[in-house]
């Protein structure tokens, strides 16, 4: 078996920090859906309601955070 390879400690810490950022965003979404669903009908973004805006935001955030992690680690 090949020897284990891990990125730098800083890279891993950043990865875990970004992971928790996303967990907070996802948990926030779940909390709104479960406990304040009335907020999801608000239309703060160009006529699109919060349910769709938050959902698409989560998808965009997943890509943004993953890209951020990649760029940061490329610097290392």
């Amino acid at each position: 078996m090949k020897p284990p390879q891990h990125s730098s400690a800083g890279g891993r810490r950043l990865g875990l920090a970004l992971f928790w950022v996303y967990v907070a965003l996802y948990a926030g979404f779940m909390a709104v859906v479960l406990f304040r669903p009335d907020l999801l009908s608000l239309r703060p973004f160009g006529g699109v309601n919060l349910a769709i805006a938050y959902g698409m935001g989560l998808i965009a955030a997943a890509f943004g955070l993953s890209l951020l992690s990649l760029l940061f680690r490329a610097d290392h």
């Binding site: 990125s7 400690a9 996802y26 669903p37 239309r43 160009g46 769709i52 997943a62 993953s66």
Partner: protein
Amino acid sequence: MLYDTSPLALAIFAAFVGGVIGLSFYLGRKGQSAQAYYAAHGEVHWFVNGIAFAGDYLSAASFLGICGMIAFHGYDGFLYSIGFLAGWIVALFVIAEPIKALGRFTFADALDSRFNSRGIKLAVAISTLVVSVFYLIPQMVGAGDLIVPLLGLPHWAGVVLVGVAVTLIVVTAGMVSTTWVQFIKGSLLVFFCGVLAVLILDRGLTVNAGRPGAENLAPQTRTITRDGTVLVDGLPQSRDHDLRPVGTISRLPDRYAGKTATGPLRPLEYLAALEDSTIVTWAPTKRADEAGVHTTYAPVERKGVDLLKPGGYFKGLTTGKLADRLDFASLMLALFCGTASLPHILIRYYTVKDAAAARKSTVVGIAAIGAFYVLTLYLGLGAMTSGALDPTSSNMAAPLLAKSFSTTLFAIISAIAFTTVLGTVSGLIMAGSGAVAHDLVENVLGVQMTDHEKVRCGKLAAVGLGIVAMALGILFRSFNVSFLVGWAFNIAASANLPALVMLLFWPRTTKQGIVAAVTVGMVASLAWILLSADTYEKVYGLSRDLSVVPFSQPGLVTIPLGFFVLVGVSLLSPAPPPSSHRGRGPR
């Protein structure tokens, strides 16, 4: 509904399958080592692997199930998309690099990397097989659903066709051909969903799209008689007397007063216009008498604003019952935790050369999968208002949406949907093949094999799994595919994730703890599912009230249970020697 068969769809699909199988035979001619069969030599380029991730992951449930759920129930299908994608964050930031570093061919390799324990290999191999089989069922059911409009053949024929094609692909060149079929499928799927989304936006919203006239809003009844004859409104079903396609807008927003169509719309404009429109959806009600089972589909006018928020499918979100909310939270937790625990996804990390490539390929996968899920929202909503839906089958929403544009596009989308099944099933068969041949036969039973014999054993296992997949696809044909995938995610998250995470982050983890966590997580989640109200109703045909568990989705209980069991058993068993975790795991 009865469908006209599409020779063009058949030709496109046959060309794809023929091309892929030809490629597989070509790749297989070079002679194979176990490293090639199980891990494609570990030399797949990270970009190809990233798109192959999408091809592996975007299953029939994602394409057919989510589109159908959005088309029939509105926003709630998008909740599945959100949960499915969120799971990739766990894969990228927590799992990707360590799993690449620790494993070789299978998920069991990684979990057993510190211990060399037969118990771990056995427990993880069984868990891999259980998860793979639960994931296989909806794929095969989806294949059967597609074959009906494509070829006019019975459901079972689609299941057998996919089973045979996938088995051929896997046994010819293993992970090499599996990777390429997933790469091609992933590329085609995202591209043509993009094409469909552009067409939807270009068409905009139209009142009574394709279904003018009040008679098209009359209820319609489908009866299945005791002898199996299908009646539509009391007369035998035929091409001249069939259910009418449904799904239209009855009123556009006030800003389009006096118009019957919006014309082309920008992406956000489309969503805003739909939210202000009134949409006609069709609700089924069932009754049975001595003549047979009657399902009446009746139109229901609904405000767009109600369809574009949660609660259309997950009724519990609007009833306010605690158990219903817990059920939903449990599903979303399982989707979040399940992706990084799916054996057929994890083994794809072994096909790239190093941890950096694993990371990069995950980012490419997230980009492709995320784009696809945004597109499915438009596909589902486009289908909902296309006037082309089959009221009896949510799984046909996407192909029928394509048909509302042109029969050529219908043929292409149907063929791609069929290849969608091929890509995912080949990944699942590969994962199962590795679990049987590498984990069970070689490592648990201790059968000594040459490299050539290892490959042959893997291929025999693939054939066996292909046969099992076909049988299950025929047996479970009446299920909604997304529902079944939820089961697989729950079992994977409950059985695999606690052991994997604790192995990486808690040095006190012992082999006894891992075996116990995997076993308890798997058995508890499986038992919970089998005792749930959903299963009582949809599988056993019994009353939901007979169920003995408070809600149907087990993850909220069984995922934490896996962690507790691992910690408890590890603390009660001898600590592993310090050397066993030296050099392993994240720092």
